[in-house]
């Protein structure tokens, strides 16, 4: 049996909604098949008021062993570093986060807000939000660079806006079933099993990417969304086209560009008008190249790919 506690800071509950839609395994499977005991969760917990407070204090004191502490949302520090804009059970949430993280065997940050600050931490960041162990790309966050939980791991980051439900439940199962040692984390503490490949890996538009045929409108079935519509699939680490959403589809498969929500900089360009769903260019050349590709190589490749493109690449091949 592994005790799990889930709290929310500066959050929209999107990751909770996502978690509750998990399928493989489902949120119920965690309890019935994998021995996870949900001590409390903002949407599922039965306790209210002082009873929640007592439960948190018991976790901190060790009276209740806290195996997994899950946090969703940013750690809010405003105003002036006090954290009073986000109080919970009589004190700033940031204080609960610190003490519960110190008490927990494993700490898991779910979603962009908890991992790197996400949308609330965009400039000018009025809520003084940070992630658990990062603020955007900068390591530190609320718990500090050197933090490790009792099991010796840093905060396990499962980013996304929201995180895919099965990324969440599969990592929780790994931790709860004693296989945390099998997890390898990347430089941003993301489990490599999910975040080594790109969103583009498995995208049904890869042929159009290869032959440099662009989609020019949302929902178009032909064409790649990278060239004009701001898709960040070629430089975003996520398995969105390997572990499909609702086990059915993905943004790029349905004709919407990837927004790069599993990367620390999300939302890119601080959502300046004209930067969303529009590939940013300098003199007609994309500012953000696919990972590992340079400008000269990209231009050469484009010429060659266009010259070699077959006629079908310009047509809608996904006919009913």
């Amino acid at each position: 049996m592994a005790n799990l506690l889930w709290l929310q800071g500066g959050a929209c509950s999107g990751n909770t909604m996502s978690f509750l839609n998990a399928e493989e395994p489902s949120a119920c499977d965690l309890v019935t098949d994998f021995g996870i005991n949900v001590l409390w969760h903002p949407s599922l917990g039965l306790e209210l008021g002082d009873n929640v407070k007592q439960l948190l204090q018991d976790c901190i004191s060790g009276k209740i062993p806290l195996d997994i502490f899950v946090f969703e949302g940013t750690v809010v520090n405003a105003p002036n570093g006090t954290g009073n804009w986000n109080r919970f059970c009589g004190r700033p949430m940031k204080d609960w986060v610190k003490e519960l993280s110190d008490a927990a065997a494993f700490v898991v940050a779910i979603g962009d807000c908890a991992t790197w600050g996400g949308i609330p931490a965009m400039a000018p960041n009025p809520s003084e939000s940070v992630g658990m162990q990062f603020l955007k790309r900068e390591k530190g966050g609320s718990l500090g660079t050197g933090f490790t939980s009792k099991a010796g791991l840093p905060v396990i980051n499962i980013p996304g806006c929201p995180a895919h439900p099965d990324w969440v439940t599969q990592i929780l199962v790994a931790v709860a079933s004693g296989r945390a040692g099998d997890l390898t984390l990347d430089e941003f503490h993301r489990p490599k099993t999910f975040f080594s490949s790109f969103t583009q890996t498995g995208c049904t538009r890869n042929m159009h990417f290869a032959y440099k045929v662009s989609a020019t409108e949302f929902g178009q079935r032909k064409g790649c969304l990278f060239y004009d519509l701001g898709c960040r699939g070629p430089m975003t680490h996520s398995p969105c086209n390997r572990v499909l959403w609702n086990r059915q589809s993905s943004k790029t498969r349905s004709g919407m560009p990837c927004m790069g929500c599993t990367e620390p900089e999300f939302p890119f360009y601080d959502l300046d008008p004209g930067t969303v769903f529009k590939t940013q260019t300098v003199m007609g050349v994309p500012k953000d190249m696919p990972t590992g590709v340079d400008k000269a190589g990209y231009i050469k490749l484009t010429g060659a790919a266009k010259a070699a493109a077959p006629a079908w690449a310009e047509q809608d091949i996904f006919v009913v």
Binding site: T281, G284, V285, E314
Partner: protein
């Protein structure tokens, strides 16, 4: 647009450019905002106003600049259809042409 209509439009554009039609090749839209402003101008045109489309788009019937950029490398160019797929232009073009809405 049928094949013969496409050919007619392509011939018309070729003739206009060969006769020395002055188009706005400068300024090149360096930012998305500038690019968007040109698109706005194009959207405001009568859809049949081919000449204004060429002028605002900055069409040339030859490659452009030191790097010799041309439609062939532009992402909106459909090689087999010889077609510019940018919705605001949507005209037949030759691979060796160029316009200031060029993007790669």
């Amino acid at each position: 647009m049928s094949m013969s209509e496409t050919d007619d439009v392509l011939n018309k554009i070729s003739t206009l450019l060969a006769s020395g039609l002055e188009t706005k090749t400068e300024p090149f839209p360096e930012t998305e905002k500038e690019f968007g402003e040109i698109l706005k101008e194009l959207r405001a045109l009568d859809p049949d106003d081919l000449k204004s489309k060429l002028v605002i788009g900055g069409f040339l019937n030859h490659p452009y600049g030191e790097e010799q950029y041309r439609c062939m490398e532009c992402m909106y160019y459909l090689v087999h259809r010889k077609w510019c797929d940018l919705p605001e232009l949507a005209v037949p073009v030759e691979a060796e042409w160029w316009c200031r809405l060029w993007r790669i």
